[in-house]
């Protein structure tokens, strides 16, 4: 229960940061009239990607099934990889190091995405272990019941 709420909230908050950060918090460069730079499109793409992570977080709070949560967290981790690759590989940001998007927005997105990936990997391992433990306990119980029935 604790893990479910903490990780779910974590994905919700980081997803919202990825989604809204480049537009409102660590802003990308402003458009020059009708000219939009790469960072503008990066910010637009991150809106969708971040929202997806946030939604996965909300669903993982609501669902108690371990295998489903495992799937959701793996999904969040993979979406985190996508979020990190938008400002670095897929679209990019302005080339000048002094620009806001290059110095602040891109590293912020990268760090938040890395946190999403790390938490997703660590928690997936934890959920797999929990799932195995539960299965073993269930097996043990069913074995006990069957041995009692035999007696």
């Amino acid at each position: 229960m604790k893990n479910r709420i903490i990780t779910g909230l974590f994905f919700l908050v980081t997803g919202l940061l990825i989604s809204l950060g480049p537009t409102y918090l660590f802003k990308v460069c402003e458009a020059m009239g009708d000219d939009f730079m790469k960072c503008h499109w990066t910010a637009r793409a991150e809106i969708g990607i971040g929202l997806l992570i946030a939604v996965l977080g909300v669903i993982s709070i609501l669902v108690s099934s371990l295998p489903i949560r495992l799937g959701l967290h793996i999904g969040a981790g993979l979406t985190g990889i996508l979020a990190a690759s938008v400002p670095t590989v897929l679209i990019g940001v302005c080339a000048m190091p002094g620009m806001n998007c290059h110095a602040i927005a891109a590293p912020s997105i990268l760090v938040i995405s890395l946190l999403v990936i790390i938490v997703s990997v660590v928690n997936s391992i934890y959920l797999i272990r929990q799932n195995t433990k539960n299965t073993e306990e269930m097996d043990q119980k069913s074995n006990d019941v069957s041995s009692r029935e035999e007696q």
């Binding site: 009239g33 000219d35 620009m99």
Partner: protein, 414 residues
């Protein structure tokens, strides 16, 4: 002390000192998290301090090697603008006559001279930012060419550019200035100076840029091909700086040219002074934090052992030797040290490297991040130093455990 622990599925695994220590720490999760957090702060500060000081020293070394020229002569009143362009890549334009170079090359004690021509691109041209465009003369240049990473197979031709290391453009990419596209033919190695964000071209290409600027309605003050922005001067080995400086000023004054002479040594000394000051602050802060963390950990371990006196006495009655108990205390401390240290390092990696550009911009000093091998070495060093804080802090508590007699401990408080 080494027992068998049975897992729910019936498998038995060896119960060693570290396993018991881990179980003890797990049981006191809040205390363990707080102590690990403390060590993590220490590890983060130590590693960040090491990386920052190494990067600043690297920046200074790079600047020393790559300034190339011993003196830089610029039009009168433009020294600050030139230093801004040289050290921070702040775009600036200033010009004087091309004949300045001829006068300088005739001075005794000056071995080489090469001109440079500065243009500022429009902010709308290339991805919305202003870039310092520097025209140089490949035939006489001794400042730019040695630092083009991966040798250029041919001379830089008209329409070709060399970009600074911090610009994202790769060889073969095109950059647009004043509506005309130019091909990137090479990249400069990292210098830690303004060169990292500048774009270099030969004088023909620079003239072409000016022509296109004029077509767009932008007229730079000097646009007739007879102007330059700076002359880079290389003096003889063992030169006398004040003598050369004065000779340059006198000769130019005689020719009716007003100019500022910027000495590399002065720039280097100023930067070195700032860096030294910064490094002293970082060192003092790191040492103080290490001592404070070790002292705090020591206090916490002492209290913790005091609380667990009876538990430890029971372990002794069950057959644990004094040595094993000391190992247990050290094991717990080592696990806290290693865990906290690792968390601190991960945090430092997540902040320092992605935000390296921002840090270097804010510091406003020459800044070159160390090589991956150096980073690995510094991480190991920080890990060992901060990881050692835990065991070092637990020495006193472990000693107290060995000293106490079991019966006295068990009867305490009766």
């Amino acid at each position: 002390m080494s027992q068998q622990k049975q897992s729910p599925n019936g498998n038995r695994k060896r119960l060693g000192i570290l396993t018991i220590a881990r179980c003890n720490l797990k049981k006191k999760a809040v205390r363990t998290s707080c102590l690990m957090g403390l060590v993590a702060v220490l590890s983060f500060t130590l590693f960040s301090g090491l990386i920052l000081t190494t990067s600043l020293r690297g920046g200074l070394d790079s600047m020393r090697q790559r300034l190339g020229a011993d003196f830089m002569v610029v039009p009168d009143g433009n020294q600050a603008k030139f230093e801004g362009a040289l050290l921070r890549g702040e775009p600036g334009t200033f010009y004087f006559g091309k004949d300045t170079e001829k006068i300088l090359s005739g001075i005794d004690g000056i071995v080489k001279t090469t001109p440079q021509f500065f243009i500022t691109s429009l902010s709308t041209d290339c991805c919305s930012y202003q870039v310092q465009l520097i025209g140089y003369e490949p035939k006489t240049d001794f400042v730019i060419a040695p630092w083009i990473s991966g040798q250029l197979q041919k001379d830089l031709e008209k329409g070709e550019l060399v970009v600074g290391s911090k610009l994202d453009n790769k060889v073969g990419d095109t950059l647009k200035f004043f509506g005309c596209e130019y091909v990137v033919a090479g990249r400069l190695e990292e210098t830690g100076m303004g060169f990292d964000t500048s774009v270099f071209m030969n004088f023909d290409t620079a003239q072409n840029v000016l022509d296109h600027a004029r077509e767009k309605g932008i007229n730079y003050r000097f646009n007739n091909g007879d102007s330059i922005s700076a002359v880079m001067v290389k003096a003889e080995d063992g030169y006398d700086a004040p003598v050369i400086n004065n000779t340059i000023v006198d000769r130019l004054r005689e020719a009716g040219i007003k100019a500022d002479v910027v000495a590399s040594r002065t720039i280097l000394t100023t930067a070195a002074d700032h860096i030294k000051q910064f490094i002293v602050y970082v060192k003092v802060f790191s040492v103080m934090l290490w001592v404070l963390t070790a002292a705090l950990l020591s206090v916490v371990f002492t209290f913790s052992v005091h609380e667990r006196k009876k538990e430890i006495a029971v372990l002794r009655i069950l057959g644990a030797t004094k040595g094993k108990l000391m190992q247990l205390i050290f094991g717990e401390a080592a696990l806290i040290g290693a865990g906290g240290s690792l968390i601190g390092l991960i945090l430092a990696f997540l902040i320092l490297f992605p935000f390296g550009n921002l840090i270097s911009l804010k510091l406003n000093l020459p800044f070159v991040l160390p090589s991956p091998q150096w980073i690995a070495l510094l991480s190991m060093l920080s890990f060992l130093l901060t990881g050692a804080a835990g065991p070092a802090a637990s020495v006193f508590s472990a000693y107290r455990i060995v000293k106490n007699e079991i019966h006295a401990t068990m009867r305490e408080g009766e």
